[in-house]
């Protein structure tokens, strides 16, 4: 698959960070969709086609990252989409829960842009 066609779904409530992630990924040729809270993310999961990869924050308004991840893994068409969790260092222990629920990887905030891109590319190049 051509990398220009790859899509990324970013679920992040910090609008500056989601803007930054979107900017970085668009520059790398991804088509980016943003959701700023758990409710919008759930609606997107329920109604839309699956993206190539998902960046999912854990602490979100309305529904947290675990709930969204559970929904993603329950939905047949979304089931195999790689999910990278975004979380703070203080929440590091909770990442085990996310991995058990089916997350593929995680990035700790504060994050290194180069590391995030490398991990994301590793998953999308396998698609």
């Amino acid at each position: 698959m051509n990398s220009e066609r790859k899509t990324v779904f970013i679920v992040e409530d910090d609008e500056n960070i989601s803007y930054l992630l979107g900017f970085m990924l668009e520059r790398e040729g991804f088509r980016v969709t943003l959701a700023a809270d758990g409710k919008k993310a759930m609606e997107f999961v329920d109604k839309e086609f699956p993206p190539s990869i998902i960046l999912l924050d854990i602490m979100l308004p309305h529904h947290n990252g675990y709930e969204i991840l559970t929904r993603i893994r329950q939905k047949l068409s979304w089931k195999k989409v790689p999910v990278i969790m975004l979380t703070t260092k203080a929440m590091e222990k909770d990442i085990v829960r996310a991995l058990k629920l089916g997350a593929n990887d995680y990035i700790l905030k504060p994050f290194q842009p180069e590391e995030l891109m490398a991990r994301l590319t590793r998953f999308t190049s396998e698609i």
Binding site: R27, Q112, P113, E114
Partner: protein, 353 residues
């Protein structure tokens, strides 16, 4: 006719008063509307400003600091700094250096240095944060002065900035404040100290501990938690070799995390101060082995009930001790207080579970 004339002044006064009230209300309403309008306009301007800068920030973070950067005016410096610090705090690695370069090229460093010496606390604090993140050496002396101010927030932010600018100079200078200032939350201080290279931190703490009286030593030992156990445990073991205050001994015992240190802990099982014996009982519950079982039994018969209580709780925590063993310990005890405390702790555990 008379009543009409007699009412006239009252009516006039009432009319004047109601007119004045109406005028005042309208003036207040107009003022509120003006303030709201001004605030909305300012927020709108700041949002437009931030939207424009977001692209420049994102480009910089992604790898390239643009050559042609607009110089920010002091009027927009606060929203600029807010956005800049938000990105700076969200990132790790080289992107932070690029953000500092962008700040410099946009004239932010110049404004921050001006604000640092200014009058307004809000601007001063923002300047301290920004200059700390950019490790601006020329600000070091003034930041050091601010770290000594009475205002707890300003001084704490300045202390962090000073350590970011130069930890080798900053930490020895701040050590006395770190232990003396009770208005600096210990957890916040620990987070600040976590960013300092561990070898330097442990060496500075060791030196301060060696030169400090007992009450200050107790506070310093708590900061050893941040360092690696291999580096901090020898300091604690060395302190226990000296004849120190019970509070120092308790802080040292609390620091131990390795079962191999049990030999240092057991030296204090018969200490005359009961809080020390209580700490021994607590530590034995964390990593006591079958070899220390008899010592724990001895603490079950301690004259101080709090020590007996802690010893009983520790006994229940040990993985190699089962219900039958506890019953046997209780039944074979000559001292009725041992049976009493074991029975109490077992009941509490049953209620909890």
């Amino acid at each position: 006719m008379m009543p009409m004339f007699s009412h006239a002044p009252t009516i006039v006064i009432a009319k004047i008063l109601s007119g004045a009230t109406l005028l005042t209300s309208l003036s207040v309403l107009a003022l509120v509307l003006m303030i709201r309008f001004a605030r909305n306009r300012r927020e709108h301007r700041e949002n437009v400003f931030q939207e424009r800068w977001k692209t420049l920030f994102a480009g910089t973070i992604s790898g390239n600091v643009p050559q042609d950067i607009p110089v920010i005016s002091p009027k927009y410096a606060m929203p600029f700094f807010r956005l800049w610090t938000h990105f700076h705090e969200s990132l790790r690695g080289e992107a932070k250096e690029r953000l500092c370069l962008l700040l410099n090229r946009a004239g932010g460093r110049r404004i921050a240095l001006k604000w640092l010496h200014g009058f307004f606390i809000r601007k001063k604090m923002m300047a301290v944060v920004v200059l700390g993140y950019c490790r601006e050496k020329s600000a070091g002396r003034h930041v050091q002065l601010l770290a000594g101010k009475k205002n707890p927030l300003l001084s704490l932010v300045a202390a962090r900035a000073l350590l970011q600018i130069d930890h080798e100079i900053g930490l020895p200078l701040l050590m006395s404040s770190i232990v003396a200032r009770t208005d600096w939350p210990a957890e916040f201080m620990k987070n600040i100290l976590r960013d300092i290279p561990k070898d330097f931190l442990v060496a500075t703490l060791r030196q301060a501990i060696e030169q400090s009286p007992d009450p200050i030593t107790v506070r310093l030992i708590k900061f050893l938690d941040i360092c690696s156990y291999d580096k901090s445990a020898p300091i604690v073991r060395n302190l226990l070799e000296q004849n120190r205050d019970p509070d120092v001994i308790i802080a040292c015992l609390d620091h131990f995390q390795d079962p191999r240190d049990i030999v240092h802990i057991m030296k204090f099982i018969g200490h005359p101060a009961w809080p020390v014996r209580l700490e021994v009982a607590k530590t034995l519950g964390q990593f006591g082995s079958p070899r220390e079982l008899d010592d724990l039994k001895r603490l079950l018969a301690d004259p101080e009930w709090q020590v007996r209580y802690e010893a009983a709780r520790s006994l229940l925590k040990l993985p190699f001790v089962n219900d039958t063993m506890i019953s046997e310990i209780g039944n074979s005890a000559m001292n009725p207080q041992v049976r009493g405390i074991l029975s109490q702790v077992r009941t509490e555990e049953a209620i909890r579970s």
